[in-house]
Every structure is written in structure tokens, then in C-alpha cells.
Amino acid sequence: MTDMSTRSEGLFGQDTPARRIMLSLAAPVGAVVLSIIASGLILVVAGSNPLSAYADMLGHARRLETVVSMINRATPLYISGVAAAIGFKMNLFNIGVEGQYRMAAIFAAYVGGSVTVPGVFHMGLILITAMIVGGAWAGIAGLLHTQRGVNEVISTIMLNGVALGIIAALVRKWQAPGEIVVVGVGTEPIADSGIIPNLSFIPEWFGDIRSTELTGVLVVAIIVGISYHVLLNRTVFGYDLRAGGINPLAARAGGVQPKRMVMIAMLLSGGVGGLVGIAEIMDKGRYDPNFVGFLGFNGIAVALLGRNHPAGIAVGALLWAFLDASSDILQVTGTAPKETVDIMRGVILLTAVIGYEIVRRVRIREEATAAAARLAEVAR
């Protein structure tokens, strides 16, 4: 069913570009509106005023500093979203970005902290270590899939559990000497040469910001996004990947080797996933036990919201970051509990995926009607 529709999209001209965009936007916008209503109801029941809470959220988001901090939060989410999307394109559910980025982050921080080489090489070394470790960890799941037929959802969930255990051990083993039981234990701090410089000069064009720095990892995220777009739409590999995801049998008949594709897709997904933790490493200069969690699962959410599209994922990541920033301001002003934001996230995600599914069906039905009409015309 799906295969037919994707192929016939271009054949039947009914679908104007404007209409297609409208249909694609219907689900996410509807989801946001629904979640605003649902959270509003919850807030009323909980005894807060939803209107003033929303006013606080929007007012806060207009400030330059908030925008910068939103971009900072969106950066790792975006990378995580792209990592998940690479798998999704091949019909692979890489649930394991969670474990991959943490493994990658601790190894990258350790390597970065134990060597001192001139600037660019130092940064490059950290990034490459992260990609290799992330890719290798996902590669285990790839191997299990191709060699043993183990479903990647199961293996990556198990590998997440293993990764967390190993990291707990490594944090203790690699902690900087002299820091035994104090707060903020972590790997050896990375020398300044390895820290990607911040981009604060850009927001400074727009105004004065002092309290927040714009993360330099944004550049990495942008490169990841562009590479993802080019890889997917401008290379043979990308074509094979999409073909393998849409119709594995047809792709196989067309000469795509499914095992090879699964392996490469897992390695790429894990490699990109390895970069998720870089922003935090650069911010803190080390891996510490309070390293931010759940970026992998939220990356999946962001990829879903953005329909695996390079720009869509960016919008999803910014939306998630906006909600993060909003939870901060709600805590400060106290107009509503900041946990409201978590509920909004859940509602947005569930309604968005349901919405996408409905839109997909509407499209299929319209195409079928259009095709039938055309056939009838030809027959006449």
C-alpha cells in the first residue's frame, strides 16, 4: 500500500505543492494545538491559570538569551534525531542511540582529556573518537541483525542496559585523580585546545548577551544535517537506503544487498548518535556522572515529529528545546508547575504520530480515487 502511494505521488497531478505542504503541516500543528488545549485543561484542574502560564512561556521565548539557550538545547537533540532518522529510513529502529551517545561521550571525553595536540586535531580527535565508539556500539546490533537475525529493537534495548552499566564503572575508573568522592567527579578535564569555541559573536550582532554562550557544536549539527540531506537525496547509497526502507523486496530485486545496507545504516546511525553528547562535553569540558540522559529517546521523538526530514527534525528539536526553556521560566514565575511541559511533550508526540497516520491514509485514499477516476476516463 505504502509503496504504491510513494511511487504514484508524482504520477497523478492532483496534489499541488501547496496542498501537500498544508497536509504535511496539518498533523504537527494540530498536535501542538491539541496539546495546548489538553495541558490547559490539566492546568485548570490543577488550579493554575493556563493563559498566564502560556503568556510566560511565550514572553520568555522572545528574549535573545532564551533563543540562544534554545538553540543550545536543540543542537544535541537535532543530532540525535538525525541518528534515529537514518535508521528509520531503512526501517530500522535504533532505540539504542541512548546507549551509543553515552558510550561515545565518555570515551571521547577520556581521549580528549588524556592528550594534548594542537587545536583542530584535538577537536577532530574527540569528534572522531565519539563517532567510532558510537558506530561500533551500534555495529554490535548491526552484526546481530545481519549474522543472527536478532531484531534490532531488542538488541539495542539490551545494549543500552549494558552501556549504562559499563559507563558507571568507567566513570569511577577514569575519574580525575584527587577527586574521589566529591561532587562533580568525572574524567580528566579536556585542555582548551580540544574545546570547540563558542559562537557567541553571532547573537551579539542582535544584542547584548552575557549569561549564555551559543554552542560551537551547532556547526557540527549543521554539517550533520546537510550531510544527511545530501547522502539521502543525492547519492546512490541514499537511494538504496530509501528503496530498502520502502520496499525491501523490490530493492533486493534491484541489486541492493539488504545485509550490507542494514550494517551500513546501523554504523552511520550510531556514528552520528555518537556525536549527541559532544555539546555537553564541550560545555562541561569533561564527562561527569550527571551527564544528561534521555537524549536518545527524545531524539527519536524529534525525528518522528520531523518526519525524518532534515529540516523537519530541526523544527522538532527547536520545539522540544522551547518546551525545555519554558519549563525553566515556569519554575521561576511559578504560574504553573514546570512538569506541565513534560505532559505537553507526551500529548504532542502521541497526537502528532496519530495525526501523521491519518494524513497518510487521507492521501492514499485521495490517490486511489484520483487513479480510479483517471482509469475510468481512459476506459471511456
Binding site: 543472527r148 529493537v153 549504562l164 552499566g165 558507571a168 529517546f297 512538569e339 496519530i354
Partner: protein
């Protein structure tokens, strides 16, 4: 010998396996000089660690037998833990359990709505539940637990437990004022090798056990009966095997799928409420489900989507966890490595006889590595206990994934009339 085993009823076969397992542990204890592998404290702790994993696994069983993959079990455990704690604080233990069950079922209802009514991909909906559940409980904690004495946004006040049960005659205790003998305790005190080990371990399973635990274990045969011996079970399973065939027989596939998914959340909710009960935490504590939902999913898989298998899988994870939590120097867990090696050698022999040399070589290799590890160390690090269940699942998947058979239509979105 094997044929004789086949003729026995399944509970008797299970008993023989269990006795053989304890025998293996007793031998290992003898050779490595460790204690506690076969004690009553270990076996009763094993029950406490097993129950939530097993309930999550049984939950997954109902859902996946109805064809809906449920990776949101972890989120449903979280909901069950919160609602179980809240219900118990407000209404007492048994009604509290019902509230916990309802909480888990509510999470599952969202999953059913997305997957069954709207045909959303099961993994996607599951991830949404995983993300949403901790947010919901945090919000609720802020509104309710934070206002209670000793409660806060991340934890509840203390939660009461249900009553305990001790099997009369076998494990002592009393019955209507009658002082019962303690047969297993007497056997234990004889200090005969193996016999006393077996008696002590068995006594841990039936002495001073929470009624919740008994209910949980009773659900295993009940599930087997419901799923394989009733009309309801047959119809539920057709949803997971071939819903279109069921549809042609007039089965209302969607309503059965709903039932399966909601039951799955209810069981996970029970598991969550158990975590909040004094058997484990004694409070609701944020983040204390400890991946048990995922481990339950693992138990379901290595249990080959069968109730008895789920229980065996959950025990396989519960036992090392129970041992590890009490084993501060890591020596008991260290001696478990020997058990792993023996199991791997058996796998290697089995694979060799089936003429799959690659599997056999792989199993031997892992066995040798584990052997070397055992030989050059005296203890295992504490983190090994945490990752052991996941490693076991990965190993089982490596060697047996071809022999496991999940429901044929598991995870496939179903639309009426569309194949």
C-alpha cells in the same frame, strides 16, 4: 530418560529442572567455597526481584499474543508504581494495588488507542509512552506527594504492604492457633549436603512470602490456562498470528487487541505497585523501576512468548540480581561465572550435535573467556550484576534466536479488511 521426562506433567518437569539447578548451585558452592548461593534469604530475595520483571513480561505476553508490541512497559511500570503508592497511602494495600493496576492500564489504553484505533507504528507509540509516563508521574507527585509529610516531588511517604503467608507443615508458622511443624527447617538443620541446601532454598520460597507475590506467581498458570484453554485465549492469539483469518471467522479483532493491550498495562501496573510496596522500595521513588520493563520484555522473548517461559526468564534475571544486592564483595556473583561456563559448554555440545560448528565454536570461545575471567579474579565488579541480565539476553538471542518464534503478526499494524 528424556522420554520419561516428556510423559510427566509440566509442573513436575519444572520441579525436576529446579532441583537439578539447585544441585548445580550446590556443587559450585562446594568447589568455590562460597556461601549464600542456596540460602533461604537468597531465594526469598529472588522472588522479590523476579515479581516485577515477571509481571512486566506477562503483560508483554498478553499484548504481543494479541499482535501489539509493547515497548512502553517500562512507562506503564512507572505509572503503576505511582498509582500503586498513591492508592495505598489513600486507601490501604489491596485497594492501592487495584489503583496501581488501573494506572498501568490507563497508560496501556493510550497505547491501544494509538496502535489499534489509529494504526500508529507500535514502537513509535511505545516510545511516546516511555517519554510521557515519567513526566505525568512527576506532575502528579508535585500536586499530591509534595504536600504530604516526608513526601516530595520525587518520592512518596512510606507505603504499607499486604499480609504475609507461610506454608504450614512445610515451613512452620501457624494455622488457626495451631503451631505447625517446620519440615523444611528441620531438613535444613540436618546440614546434609544438597538435601539441606534444597530444603533451605525451598523454605525461602514459601515462608513469610507476601500475598502479592503469591498472586503474581498464580498469574502464570492462570495466564497459560486463559490463553491456551479458553475461547477468549484462542481469539486473542489469532489476533497475533493471523488477524485476517480471525476476522473471517467473525472475531472482533480490534476489541481483542484492546483487551490484550489493556491487560498488559494492568499487569505492568501490578508490577509497578509491587515495586512501590515494602517488598522492594516501600515508597514511590522516581527512577526506581530500574529498566525492569525492558528486562521483562527480554524475559518474554527468551521465554518464547509463553507464560512458563516468561517466569523462567524472570527468575533467570531475578536470581543474580537478588544475589548481587546481598553480595557486597562480589564473591558469590563471581562463582556464578562457573554456572555460566557450564551452561555455555552445554550450549556448545548441543550446537555441535546439531552440526552447527559456528555456534559451537562461538559458545566455546565465550565459555573459555568466562573461564579465564573466573580464574584470574577473585571477585566480579559490582557493575557486572547490573549488566548481567542484558548480557544473558544477548547471548540467548545469539544462540537461540532462530529457535524462538514470536506471534506471526506481532507488530504489524492491523486495519480491518486490509492485508
Amino acid at each position: 530418560m528424556i522420554q520419561m521426562l516428556d510423559r510427566l506433567p509440566s509442573w513436575a518437569t519444572w520441579m525436576i529442572y529446579a532441583a537439578a539447578g539447585v544441585g548445580l548451585l550446590a556443587i559450585v558452592e562446594l568447589f568455590t567455597g562460597t556461601e549464600g548461593l542456596t540460602s533461604a534469604t537468597t531465594s526469598s530475595a529472588m522472588l522479590r526481584w523476579t515479581v516485577p520483571i515477571m509481571l512486566a513480561g506477562l503483560g508483554g505476553l498478553y499484548s504481543e499474543r494479541a499482535g501489539v508490541v509493547n515497548i512502553g512497559l517500562e512507562g506503564m511500570l512507572v505509572l503503576g508504581m505511582w498509582f500503586g503508592a498513591w492508592g495505598t497511602i489513600e486507601l490501604g494495600p489491596w485497594p492501592g494495588l487495584a489503583v496501581g493496576v488501573a494506572g498501568g492500564a490507563l497508560g496501556a489504553l493510550a497505547h491501544a488507542l494509538a496502535t489499534v484505533t489509529f494504526g500508529v507504528d507500535h514502537i513509535i507509540s511505545g516510545v511516546a509512552i516511555l517519554i510521557a509516563a515519567p513526566g505525568i508521574t512527576r506532575f502528579l507527585s508535585l500536586k499530591i506527594f509534595a504536600d504530604m509529610p516526608t513526601g516530595s516531588i520525587t518520592q512518596s511517604p512510606a507505603v504499607d504492604g499486604v499480609g504475609k503467608f507461610t506454608m504450614p507443615v512445610l515451613a512452620g508458622g501457624g494455622f488457626l492457633g495451631w503451631e505447625s511443624p517446620d519440615l523444611l527447617g528441620w531438613l535444613r538443620d540436618l546440614r546434609w549436603w544438597y538435601v539441606s541446601d534444597l530444603a533451605d532454598m525451598a523454605r525461602g520460597l514459601i515462608a513469610n512470602v507476601s500475598q502479592m507475590t503469591i498472586l503474581a506467581f498464580a498469574l502464570v498458570p492462570i495466564s497459560a490456562w486463559v490463553l491456551w484453554r479458553t475461547r477468549f485465549g484462542l481469539r486473542l492469539r489469532i489476533c497475533g498470528e493471523h488477524p485476517w483469518a480471525g476476522e473471517s471467522q467473525g472475531v472482533n479483532i480490534k476489541s481483542y487487541k484492546y483487551t490484550g493491550v489493556v491487560l498488559s498495562g494492568a499487569l505492568a501496573g501490578f508490577g509497578g505497585a509491587f515495586i512501590a510496596s515494602p517488598e522492594l522500595n516501600g515508597i514511590y521513588l522516581e527512577g526506581s523501576t530500574l529498566n525492569r520493563g525492558f528486562i521483562g520484555l527480554a524475559a518474554l522473548i527468551i521465554g518464547n512468548w509463553r507464560p512458563g517461559g516468561v517466569m523462567a526468564g524472570a527468575l533467570l534475571f531475578g536470581y543474580p540480581s537478588a544475589l548481587g544486592k546481598r553480595d557486597l564483595d562480589g564473591s558469590a556473583t563471581h562463582s556464578l561465572l562457573v554456572v555460566t561456563v557450564i551452561a555455555l559448554v552445554l550450549v556448545a555440545i548441543w550446537a555441535w550435535r546439531r552440526r552447527s560448528q559456528v555456534d559451537s565454536g562461538l559458545a566455546t570461545f565465550v565459555a573459555v573467556m568466562a573461564c579465564i575471567w573466573f580464574a584470574i579474579t577473585d571477585t566480579v565488579p559490582d557493575w557486572w550484576v547490573d549488566i548481567q541480565p542484558f548480557i544473558i539476553v544477548l547471548l540467548v538471542m545469539v544462540f537461540f534466536s532462530q529457535r524462538l518464534r514470536m506471534p506471526a503478526a506481532d507488530g504489524i499494524p492491523y486495519r480491518k479488511g486490509e492485508t
